[in-house]
Each structure stands twice: as structure tokens, then as C-alpha cells.
Symmetry: C2
Subunit: 220 residues, 2 copies
């Protein structure tokens, strides 16, 4: 009984969130500011991917980062140290980022003067899949040590994304990760999402991610 009531309220909140997300996306599109929502398990390498992206694009692209964590400013500190504006959202018990939180974060940046905003969502393969952040694209990062079966276990997030990044491919020699099986599991859920295989540690494969991102800049 309690659960039914929760779902009703949740639908109300989801509807409110959708409106906020759509408004936010239109506002960013008006200034040709592209926003990407980065999602993954804890420790898959979202921050490492961001640091590589800053390294590669910061001189020809005005970018900023919205970090989200239950607690701490660990990630925002790393981004700020790399010379890019970063806002940390402390979500407390909240397991994902909603559009209203992003709107609050953007009040501390100058979105209209930016080309790219990246949201680093809470490390979680479940909840972030259910909430529109207002981003133009959703990217799922999965790291090789997590295993190739994750699309079977967390289908919603893979079904709803625009790009899948497989990070830590330098582990392929020690992990029994079947890339072909992983890709076919993704394709079954999401036939159009490309898969970029890369290693933020060694730099291998990063071009795939940069190309995807640069194709989108200015298309907001």
C-alpha cells in the first residue's frame, strides 16, 4: 500500500522534473551550450575521463563541470585543479541528479558563455537512469573490471543512453571481459548507441570519445 502511494508521488516528481529538464535544455540550446550527463558505477573512471577531456579540449572549447556526490568535494577539487570551473552538488542521501539540482549548479557558472557542460552523476547504475538531468546526451561509462554482464543486470541505463564508453581496456589482459559479448548485449538494448573502448590511464582509444564529443559541440 505504501509502495503504491510512493509511485504516485514519484510520478508527480518525475513529471515536474521532466518540465524542468526540458526548460533547461532549451535554455542551453539557445546559447549553443551542449550538456552531457556522464553516468557509471562508482570508480569506473568518470573523473579520469573528464580530466583527459579537459587536457585535450580545454584550449579550444569553453567547458565547465557539475560534479555530484553524496558527500565530499574530491572530484570537483580535481577538476578545479585542472583549471576548469567546477560546481560540486552534495546530494546527501539522494542517489541521482535531477534537473532542478543542475539548474541550481548552473547559477554558479555562466552557461551562456560555455560550449560544453559535463555533469558527473552520482556513481550508480540504477537511479540516474530514471531521471532526465536536462542534458542533451547521456553517456554510460563501464570499466572492464566490472564485467561484461552488466547490460543484462542494469538494462535501463544502457537502453536509454546515447554512447557507451568502456574504460580501463588496459585490464583486458588480466580480466576475462568479452568485448564482443558486451557489445552485442548493449546492441540488443540499444541498437544505435556507439561503443568507445578506451583507457584513461594509457590514453588508448580516447580519440573515439573526443570525436563523438566534438561532433556534438555546437549542435545543442
Amino acid at each position: 500500500m505504501g509502495k503504491v502511494r510512493l509511485i504516485e508521488i514519484k510520478q508527480q516528481i518525475l513529471a515536474d522534473n521532466q518540465k524542468t529538464a526540458d526548460r533547461l535544455r532549451s535554455r542551453l540550446s539557445a546559447s549553443e551550450t551542449y550538456m552531457v550527463n556522464l553516468m557509471s558505477s562508482p570508480g569506473s573512471g568518470k573523473t579520469s575521463l573528464l580530466l583527459r577531456t579537459i587536457e585535450a579540449l580545454a584550449d579550444r572549447c569553453r567547458l565547465a563541470v557539475v560534479e555530484a556526490d553524496l558527500d565530499s568535494t574530491v572530484d570537483a577539487d580535481k577538476i578545479a585543479a585542472a583549471g576548469v570551473p567546477a560546481v560540486q552538488l552534495r546530494t546527501g542521501g539522494f542517489c541521482h541528479v535531477e534537473a532542478a539540482m543542475v539548474e541550481q549548479a548552473l547559477a554558479h557558472l555562466e552557461p551562456a558563455a560555455l560550449d560544453l557542460i559535463v555533469i558527473e552523476n552520482v556513481g550508480n547504475l540504477v537511479c540516474p537512469a530514471q531521471s532526465d538531468t536536462g542534458a542533451h546526451a547521456n553517456v554510460v561509462v563501464l570499466s572492464v573490471p566490472e564485467g561484461d554482464d552488466k547490460p543484462l543486470k542494469y538494462p535501463v541505463i544502457f537502453a536509454g543512453c546515447d554512447l557507451v564508453v568502456v574504460n580501463k581496456i588496459d585490464y583486458l589482459s588480466v580480466e576475462s571481459f568479452d568485448c564482443a559479448a558486451f557489445k552485442s548485449r548493449v546492441a540488443r538494448l540499444n541498437p544505435t548507441a556507439p561503443v568507445c573502448e578506451l583507457s584513461c590511464r594509457t590514453g588508448e582509444g580516447l580519440a573515439c570519445w573526443f570525436e563523438w564529443l566534438e561532433d556534438r559541440l555546437g549542435s545543442a
Copy 2:
């Protein structure tokens, strides 16, 4: 405004869940059946730890497993193949296991005839921390590739657990994971929880986990 209403309902559900969890725990204690709730990020090695546990304890301990995933029966299939009764909970969009779900799962087992039940929670470091499953103990598994900063970012789950398992220590040679820093971050949140460092792949360090578990059997 929507959010405030959600919290009210959520508290109601949390209160209902607490009652169910307490009732379940008492019922299991009456038959000296010990229940452990295993929590971690996706791919940290909960299932691998379970398979090692079955290998080591199945001949002197009657055990069963409750698996939880958004979708698929991948993990329950592995457990059943190892010769141990397993029930798979498909949580759909739900990001954690609640006591009522465990109660439903136990209807398919014979809890009173068991020494040990292990719940493998949904792979998630956020939501499972907020809901009592009815287990006697909560264990968090973190794997080395996820990084030593996770207690800073997901404090609730580390603060509320009875044991921390660091899995994949065979990665220590390739990952910059600072064990001492990790342990001191855990200790700041949870001064009494022991930390077992092990590798399900190589078997190193597993004795720590087995000893912790055997100490508890019969203490339900």
C-alpha cells in the same frame, strides 16, 4: 515541494520496512539462521565472494542465497550451478532490497533448516545503505579498481556496515590504491568495522572473511 511530500511517504515506507525487517530477523534468530546482507558497486565481486564461500563452507554449513538484480538471473544461475539453493529477486526499477522482498524470497526456501542465508543486494553504494533487509549483519565489498576514495563519497554505506571487504587485491600492483588511507577513511566513519583484504581470484586473504563469518554462525 514535490520533494517534501516524497520524504514524508518515504519515512512511512521506511517505518513499515523497519517493522518487517525486525520481524524477519527475530524469526530467523529463533531457528539460529544467520543472515548476511552483501552490498557493493556493480562488479566488485559479490558473486565471486559467494562462490568462494560456497566452496569453503558448503560441506559444513547449510546455506542459501537470495540474489537481487534489476533484471536477469545471471547470478542466481551461477549460485545454483554451485549446488546451493538460490532465489532471484527481480527488482525492476528498484535500486535496493527491502525486507518485504527478502520475506517473499524466503517463502521459496526453508529458512529454519538453514545455518546461513546471504543476500546479494543490487549493485549500488547508495540506496541499499538506507534500507534494513532483515539481515543480522551488513557487509560492504569494495574492489581495488574502484579507488580508495569511496568512503569519502559514499559515507552512509560504510558508516552503517559491520564488515568491509576489499576485493581484487591482486590489482594492487597495477592500481594506485592506498590501503592505509582507505582503512583510515573507513575507521573515521566506522571505528569498529574490521576490514578484510582479499582476492577472490587468487584466494589470498579469504581466511579473514571465512573466520568472520564462522564466528557469527549460530550467533543469530
